[in-house]
Symmetry: C2
Subunit: 331 residues, 2 copies
DNA sequence: TTGAAAGCGCTAACAA
DNA sequence: TTGTTAGCGCTTTCAA
């Protein structure tokens, strides 16, 4: 009963082992309560069965990134998929690229899922890592993508079109003074902003910088910031919010100062996360299938890990408008 | 420049290395961009720098456990603490004890954080693991605790007293027909139920089995189940809910069938998670410092990992009532 | 202060 | 079909 034989039955390579031996080995394993040492296995096999999930955060955000409904929902899909495939998930949360790069290199996981990374940061990670990488919500140029040597897929969303649809719907239902609420002006939110601008332009509605409702989302300031924006909303007929949570918070702030939603102000959200259904009025929003997107990203990553080349290095999912109660038709 | 020397400077044992050599080693490390291989290190040193976080789930729950506000908030505190201490977090989510036991043994993490585990399941894990364990929200008998050989701390909450306070408050504000809403009847919720019963008894209010609002929280059924409970609530003056999310959902269901909160029905939640502030009316609830509890649990675990014996094997935190808008004084 | 060497538990190539 | 053996990259003991 040599190590090879034992190793073989452990890994189910029973074609190479006689049934009797296999049985013998199995009962022995059972008897001693054998548990493989994962570190040793990983070291020898040069893989880890770990998928690293990297989330780049902003410092001093008003809530921990794991509490963001979008994040917790997509992580749910991701975690489940990883677990069911027999892999382990390791979370790297950080706002520091150098830190991320080190951890990624040290652990040498089998694959990496990158959230909200900038174009060239994603590339830096890959240069260091040189194993399969899937990006979520990264706007990445074709030239950059080409440098990933087929070990890369970006899985995104039609943010521009989705926002355009939302704004067009507002315009169609009689709104003209429409604000755009966000806490930043880059990445995903920037693209959504473009969709907003395009919809306005197409309807011949002038945009002014004032129409950008810039929320300060840091810890001590978000409430007061939202309060100010609610005041400002008095002059508007509708506000598009870059997340359902912000939409929900805006509705509350408005109701508190006597602006009734949707009677006085229409509010529209994005993502169709849990809060949009929990809010009252429930929130009209742009739906995306978050859990499915999480699952799909892992599915793709897993395929690359076993050596399959992805069919395309970019998958862009389509969101769609879900009409609930927070938008009112105006004459 | 031998391996030992290099290893010594990496680990800061510079007492054993001459300054010149140290400098030489450091610049070499810098030059080649040295990154330690974590698996090799762990194998040799027989530790992992990983803290395992085990969450035992119920199958077919209406939302992924990571999306539960309580879970995501406490994980936020946990993740942050683990990261800042230079450790890594590995999540094991499962509803199967055998599975959990195997993973725990295979990975041989430095410590384990156990969520909502039953008394003897926690002990089984320890018997297998034999390293520091911290339990969160586990009701565990003194005899069981004694078997953990000082490598154990339970960090709980005064669930009974908290609920008692909530119910007493309802009674004081003029409510008598008070329901208790939960989706199970064990562990934490069972203890809360006892607090509810005690408060009723002390006020001389009779309890009937009908006063237990049992929510079916599985995927396809939660909405209809909540709807039924809202109907049932017509006969009540107040309902205590075992979570803020349920309180929020109940409020919505009630409003939809014309029961106004708090005018017709008072609703009280538990935990003081984000939804209690996001709801309208905002929810009167029992506050607990969730993030702090997460941090504290890791702090204790870390201490045990470096060999300190915990001062006590049980830390029970105190919740407190937060009065918001969902309870109305009745004459 | 430095270096040589054993060994952590496993995989996999190769030999028998 | 089974067994032997050389690493995987690191830590640590012991000798120089």
């Amino acid at each position: 009963m040599s190590t090879t034989t034992v190793s073989n039955v452990i890994h189910g390579k029973t074609g190479e082992v006689s049934p009797e031996t296999e049985q013998r080995v199995r009962s022995y394993l059972e008897e001693v309560g054998y548990i493989p040492n994962i570190n040793a296995r990983n070291l020898a096999a040069n893989h880890s069965n770990i998928i690293g999930v990297v989330i780049k955060t902003r410092e001093n955000h008003y809530m921990h990134i794991l509490s963001e409904p979008f994040v917790s929902e997509i992580l749910g899909g991701i975690e489940e998929m990883i677990r069911k495939a027999g892999y382990y998930m390791m979370l790297y949360i950080s706002d520091d690229m150098a830190d991320i790069l080190n951890k990624v290199a040290a652990w040498n996981t089998d694959g990496l899922l990158l959230f909200w990374m900038l174009d060239d940061d994603a590339l830096r990670v890959y240069k260091r890592f040189r194993k399969p990488v899937v990006c979520v919500d990264t706007y990445i140029s074709e030239e950059t993508r080409a440098q990933f040597e087929n070990s890369f897929v970006n899985i995104g969303l039609e943010d521009e079109a989705g926002t355009h649809e939302a704004i067009s719907y507002l315009i169609k239902t009689g709104h003209r003074r429409i604000g755009f609420l966000s806490d930043n002006h880059e990445g995903v939110d920037l693209v959504r902003f473009r969709g907003y601008r395009r919809a306005l332009e197409e309807a011949g509605i002038k945009y002014s910088n004032k129409d950008f409702f810039e929320l300060c989302s840091t810890k001590g300031e978000i409430e007061s910031s939202m309060k100010k924006l609610a005041e400002k909303a008095k002059k508007y007929e509708a506000v598009f919010c870059c997340s359902d949570v912000y939409a929900s918070m805006l509705i509350n702030s408005c109701e508190r100062i006597g602006i009734s939603v949707p009677e006085d102000l229409s509010v529209i959200g994005f993502d169709d996360t849990f809060p949009s259904r929990l809010s009252r009025p429930s929130i009209t929003t742009i739906h995306q299938d978050i859990v499915e997107r999480g699952r799909l990203s892992i599915e793709l990553l897993l395929k690359m890990i076993i050596g399959e080349k992805p069919e395309s290095d970019q998958i862009i999912m389509k969101p769609k408008l879900v009409i609930r109660e927070s938008v009112k038709e105006r004459k």
